[in-house]
Symmetry: D2
Subunit: 251 residues, 4 copies
Amino acid sequence: MAYVDLNADLGEDFGAYRLADDGEILAYVTSANLACGMHAGDPVVMARSVALAKARGVAVGAHPGYPDLQGFGRRDMALDEDEIHAFVLYQLGAIAAFARSQGVRLHHVKPHGALYNRAAVDRAAARAICRAVAEFDPSLKVYAPYRSELAAQAEAVGLCACCEVFADRRYEEDGQLTPRRHPDAMIRDLDEACEQVLTMVREGRVRSRTGEWVEVAADTVCLHGDGPHAVALAKALHERLTHAGVQICPA
Amino acid sequence: MAYVDLNADLGEDFGAYRLADDGEILAYVTSANLACGMHAGDPVVMARSVALAKARGVAVGAHPGYPDLQGFGRRDMALDEDEIHAFVLYQLGAIAAFARSQGVRLHHVKPHGALYNRAAVDRAAARAICRAVAEFDPSLKVYAPYRSELAAQAEAVGLCACCEVFADRRYEEDGQLTPRRHPDAMIRDLDEACEQVLTMVREGRVRSRTGEWVEVAADTVCLHGDGPHAVALAKALHERLTHAGVQICPA
Amino acid sequence: MAYVDLNADLGEDFGAYRLADDGEILAYVTSANLACGMHAGDPVVMARSVALAKARGVAVGAHPGYPDLQGFGRRDMALDEDEIHAFVLYQLGAIAAFARSQGVRLHHVKPHGALYNRAAVDRAAARAICRAVAEFDPSLKVYAPYRSELAAQAEAVGLCACCEVFADRRYEEDGQLTPRRHPDAMIRDLDEACEQVLTMVREGRVRSRTGEWVEVAADTVCLHGDGPHAVALAKALHERLTHAGVQICPA
Amino acid sequence: MAYVDLNADLGEDFGAYRLADDGEILAYVTSANLACGMHAGDPVVMARSVALAKARGVAVGAHPGYPDLQGFGRRDMALDEDEIHAFVLYQLGAIAAFARSQGVRLHHVKPHGALYNRAAVDRAAARAICRAVAEFDPSLKVYAPYRSELAAQAEAVGLCACCEVFADRRYEEDGQLTPRRHPDAMIRDLDEACEQVLTMVREGRVRSRTGEWVEVAADTVCLHGDGPHAVALAKALHERLTHAGVQICPA
């Protein structure tokens, strides 16, 4: 039987600032990537987010990012390998403390934003992240793009890598996401987005923007936590997958 | 046989900034309170500090503070109970991750600066800290002033409170430290400082500034990590205690 | 002829975080207090906020706060007088640079949150703020509560203090705001709020929660920048004042 | 008559952290680049540093950097052009406020660390910086490498660019600094360093690491603020230039 995880980045409020209403999307996802206080989130937000995920029975993961709150972790920063290792380890410990205090076990790690993008292609960054994860808790799963450096380094240190795909993003024939600046980068039709995921989950392949079939593994689907469109997509995808007999469960 | 712990605040560098040479004082202490990135310290410093403490066989403790790097955690901040709880839990998790990654177990918690001062007298703050510690790891010891709110709340939640005394500070007849602004607040003579500690450890009392004997418990002595005087005092105290047959070991 | 200024705290976004839609409230106010990057705001937000205020012909003021982004400047921090002076001066310079770069002249200063509350009653804090303002630009007006330390210190160094009142807050018989925890602290009825302001502007007095008439000066009315209620109140107050022949212009 | 400016990066303390003793180097320099609170420095430090420079009669300049205190502004960050513009403008305003409050006029701008390196070669970054400077105060001089994008963009917006050279760094035949990783990157001999500067000032050229003469303009020489070697070089250079009849004055 086919199965897949639906994940979303949550807990990205900070102090008086609300980024999104996490409650709605939590009804549809099976794992939550919680910000750890570097690119977003703060200790009070983290306590609240773990409680929310726990109440919904959603698996709690770490979502470590660059130490750049003003840039929301979306700008690349030239941290070296030891710095990335230390900043990721710090964030893992911090979010795990909130999980532990509420009797929840940390389930996975998904790097955020510019760090995720860099770890997809930069071996040193990927190694730094995976080394931190393996030292902290080798049972943690690493969410990573298919055939990325991050996935490779996770496996190299004995971690379980879960391949992440996107419902509403188009793919190129080399398996990379179509860059956002491309006019056809986004799949705006809900049905089309749902079918793309279903095909990825059941057939292990995706039809690229230019029409070729590309091999892909779909262990977990990334959903966005904000905006009406995001919730509508999450709901539609959840229904479509369930209807097709795909089991939705943490990776 | 009498025994006592010698502790020092370490790992308070930040980025390019060096606060003190931690190496020297580490030769004399048995437990190190490591900054956790809020009032001082950063992930790279924390990794390095845990390694240094481990190499010297010194017990590793958390030294959580207010989120105020510019003020070095020495200014009071009106965090409420839930905020203190969350900020302490965050810091415990962060430093514990570095300990775990190096195969070291976190040993104790000592709040820093203005948070320590507040927790000595403010029940809500003390409770917030101790609740965080108990949730995170109930085997952690809490370093606290004798008969403080912090000690009381630690015991109230089942934690082991270790009473901290000072070698080079004068005490009032109510057992409180003589305020620093008082001209006679500091004990500058090494011998006198050593004798004060020895008396506290062996007799459970200290002679106050005004001459009365005051009851005190001395589980751990706070040493400062910086300055030539600090190292000289640490060395002298270590020798004096050893010579007197007092065993120096983690609290 | 009676006249009054309507002010609002604006430019309090930070990075990816939006606090409020400043555009709506800007249609009704005559002066904007712009966050300066310490409790809220960042350089990109400040550039955008000055441009927005300029486009609407609204006077640009500085809204300096404690360096506490996570607490949104709402928590008291034990900065000493020199620290407050330096932190305010820093923020004045920063926001003034954005004004100057767009050909706008800084018009006033209104401390934010916990700093405003402290400056109302703490002479050292009030003096520190006013000293910074006077050194930076003695033509800047200081928005301050009536008969506050802030108003007194402003006048003591030759600055023009503008008394700020609130439309939707109840007053005590000593002229202080009824604390928010009091069930009757807020005036929720739009008409009542408008009448309170009109009376303050025209008669220089307000009827306290307990029914006494209290003297007050109303140079500027504080409006809130967020929430549907805030915009409705701003709109209603603008109409009521205009209808009553009160001129609405910068203080 | 030949003349040259000697500059140093100063005011890089932060909170409780001391980076260097600025007092010694101030005896030899004619212009100081003061950190503005983003990569180093804080409002209290800035007030103190301006006072120190003023007391020594040293020209006060802004030393804006990336918002990365933990990395000391030495790591590249992918800020876009508008972000760089806003962050530089913010920092110019902040340091200028301290200068103004002490009756000193800001004299120049020198970007710090990774921002300086990027602005040397990246047109958008250089343009963003120079646009901010020109908008803030077109009389400010910009310290920039010879034939850099920063110098070009400064001149393009009508600013005066002052070419900066290094006494203790070797040059390549294309006029670039020999990278630090090269074993021969540093000139460790004081006499050799002094002669390099003297030749650059008087002859407008420097002999490269590989022996060729390279054209260069030497309006200002960068000295380092920390370490015994730095002060010794500053002192030797000051003496050598004075002895050779070169006037040392702000650029």
